[in-house]
Symmetry: C2
Subunit: 437 residues, 2 copies
């Protein structure tokens, strides 16, 4: 019998190099050989750790070493302005831990891959090793971390709800079907019913989890599986409370990105958006205002087409210098059956979308909490309340006024990083034609 | 145009009551009416907030107020030893925000529900409002928080990988199939391929996400959909590094539970497990030792049956006072094709399970990183490497020595809370017969 105790605290390569400079002791780092370049009497080995790249100066003869060898390098840390991070590893001795069987199919060590998107996605398992991709997905990790940290600081509890469900929350035909031990089942389009249910339990809940949409169109802004950041909150005074919480999250997010990902933002040439305050405008008003300003005709009075969202984003930028804009009071007709209608004009709902540089990144709003009101709205829509008895159980037995939102992690990442296609903001995207890698 | 600014920082009910006691100003709290009891000239209203219960003392006449009304209560905070938390809200004025349409179908306000499991699960949307359930799922939220916090402190990056996949990672027949725009697709049994892929990118990665197992047996320890906490780490010296990281997580977890959930543990009568150090024993050795000590015959020499896991848990408890035990070096035959065989005896793998009170809660180990070795092992198993070309791309183009683990969030929760059925450790369990709520 042996005893396992805890792992040693990990130090980043940067911290180890800094320490090595101070105490003049040899430093050992591990990582992948990112590039290898003979110059003068020495070889420059750029080591790619999980966190950064480190310049190592080795002797001329590095034997059979090549790119994407896994290595351990020992040397002396030395300040060197031209090295990434300002410190290099000199007189480096290299121990090779493993070797690739073949050279990389794409030049991931270059600034940009210059491959078409399809080829890039096909090579994704190794193309992700490029530093640009590192930056995109470090930023993505920070976004979800900020969402959780902010909500936890506001008393929200994390929940995990099922993705195999017996009925879709969002309705419509864009739902994946599967066989569940002989019964018909579906993949969750959103955690809507469950997060509302949990408001009756914890009052404030959140979940970050995959959702599935069997949408049959291929666009630069749709994925068939994406990561939804959801929260739901009870005892709201109005749906403005939900927008205020989202604003708080966005501020926490830009704060974390500034502290944690400034190098990544710089590499991508991305600037942090302005989130000090976010304008909120009514759907009808901004729809008309943008159409008038940019001189186009409104085709669908009940919803926003992608081009209209872009025009509204431009309007918000030009008129108010705003990166984000809340569009409120969407028509009831285009919102789900659980959306609360505006008592002052029930053709509209107490709901909103958040646009980021002209693209919807969040949908939210107040929900119906009263049993009779909810049953009545379902009946008006030709739905059978009996089929939703587990969901309606919460309204029947008492719910506080509540609402919430769902934000798309990939869309936020895409806009933060200034990417032109949502597939680039997803590690392994799923679309109409793409089921692997 | 309006401007949305950030939400006010939320204060817990406990903090507001404490403040009210100090500054003698009225306190307003919102929550659900948990219980209502007339006594002498007053009515005791127990308010259930998302976080705690608060005793409010109202006048005799509370009108049509009933259980599960959503209310806002204003009163003066007053120290009162007999009240939960030591402070009550006296002279309370109640504003009713919403009313239930029907009384609760189960006495959720009682200490224990005394319902059979099936009935309880059918009533789950409202049965979760019981304080015992609050405690179980607060503990669950703390477990996943500790997993993330610990790994982030060790340089791990969070990833989100697809759940709709073109091939199963674990093989076998227990995989859900679905139609993906006319193509055959599956639900991920684990993020195995993807997390290994991401070791080539970030070296250290983790994910907390649902996984799906179409297992056709109904037991107290299996769910067909559960939350898997996965990590994968590169540049390990041996698979003992992985066990050391898990030990570090478990220590972070008990630390967080002690700070954040002591009241919940107390309510459930649960004691925190010992995680200072965790014994590790070889599969063959402990299998024989437990069979000898408890006098039973070994039936399957290659795997552990549930009864054997229980016996090993008892052995670890009796011999070493251990709540957890690592069982190492599982037979190669019963481990997946990506498991690294022990070079000293390739009938065994460099792998482990972690048992908690006699139940497997984690499976982990070192993976094959060399391309030729992996292709060769697949061939020996009659697998076609061509079918796994996207996965093998990472081995082909270079991978460091690496390994990782997957831990079941519900199983950990079940054992921590001392529950007798895993369904009680899942908000909305999916099993052979249960697809709703």
């Amino acid at each position: 019998m042996e005893q396992i105790t805890t792992a040693r605290q990990r130090k980043s390569a940067a911290a180890q190099l800094e320490e090595g400079c101070r105490n003049n002791r040899p430093v050992t780092l591990s990582g992948m050989v990112h590039t290898l370049r003979a110059m003068g009497g020495v070889t420059f080995l750029v080591l790619r750790t999980g966190e950064e790249i480190v310049q190592c100066v080795c002797g001329r003869d590095t034997g059979s070493l090549c790119r994407e060898c896994a290595v351990r390098v020992t040397g002396s840390a030395r300040r060197e302005e031209r090295a990434p991070g300002g410190i290099e590893l000199a007189d480096a001795q290299v121990q090779c831990l493993s070797r690739p069987a073949a050279a990389l199919p794409a030049p991931v060590f270059k600034q940009s891959l210059h491959l078409n998107l399809d080829t890039q996605l096909g090579l994704r398992p190794v193309a992700l090793r490029s530093l640009r991709e590192h930056s995109v997905f470090r930023i993505q990790a920070a976004v979800s971390q900020a969402f959780r940290d902010y909500l936890q600081s506001q008393g929200f509890v994390e929940i995990h709800t099922p993705k195999i469900v017996h009925a879709g929350a969002e309705g419509g035909s864009n739902i994946f079907r599967l066989d569940y031990f002989g019964r018909k089942a579906f993949l969750a389009q959103s955690p809507q019913f469950y997060k509302q249910t949990m408001v009756g339990v914890f009052e404030r809940v959140f979940e970050i989890a995959p959702v599935f949409r069997a949408e049959k169109h291929s666009t630069p802004r749709h994925l068939n599986e994406y990561t939804s950041m959801d929260f739901e909150v009870g005892f709201i005074d109005s749906f403005y409370d939900i927008m205020a919480l989202e604003t708080g999250f966005l501020q926490a997010m830009t704060g974390l990105l500034a502290r944690q990902c400034s190098g990544d933002l710089e590499r991508l040439g991305a600037a942090l958006p302005q989130v000090e305050q976010i304008p909120a405008v009514r759907f009808d008003w901004i729809k008309r205002a943008a159409a008038e300003k940019y001189g186009y005709r409104i085709r669908d009075p009940y919803d926003l087409e992608p081009e209209e969202e872009q025009a509204i984003g431009r309007y918000a930028q030009e008129e108010w210098g705003a990166d984000f804009v809340f569009v409120t009071h969407y028509p009831s007709k285009k919102r789900p059956f659980y959306a609360m209608d505006d008592p002052e004009d029930p053709r509209y709902t107490l709901s909103f979308d958040l646009l980021f540089h002209g693209m919807e990144v969040t949908t939210g709003g107040q929900r119906i909490h009263d049993y009779a009101t909810q049953v009545e709205k379902m009946r008006r829509r030709g739905m059978d309340p009996e089929a939703f008895q587990h969901y309606l159980m919460i309204h029947k037995h008492g719910m506080p006024p509540h609402g919430g939102l769902g934000a798309g992690l990939e869309r936020l990442t895409m806009k933060l990083c200034g990417l032109d296609n949502i597939r680039k903001a997803c590690l392994f995207p799923r679309d109409l034609g793409r089921l692997e890698p």
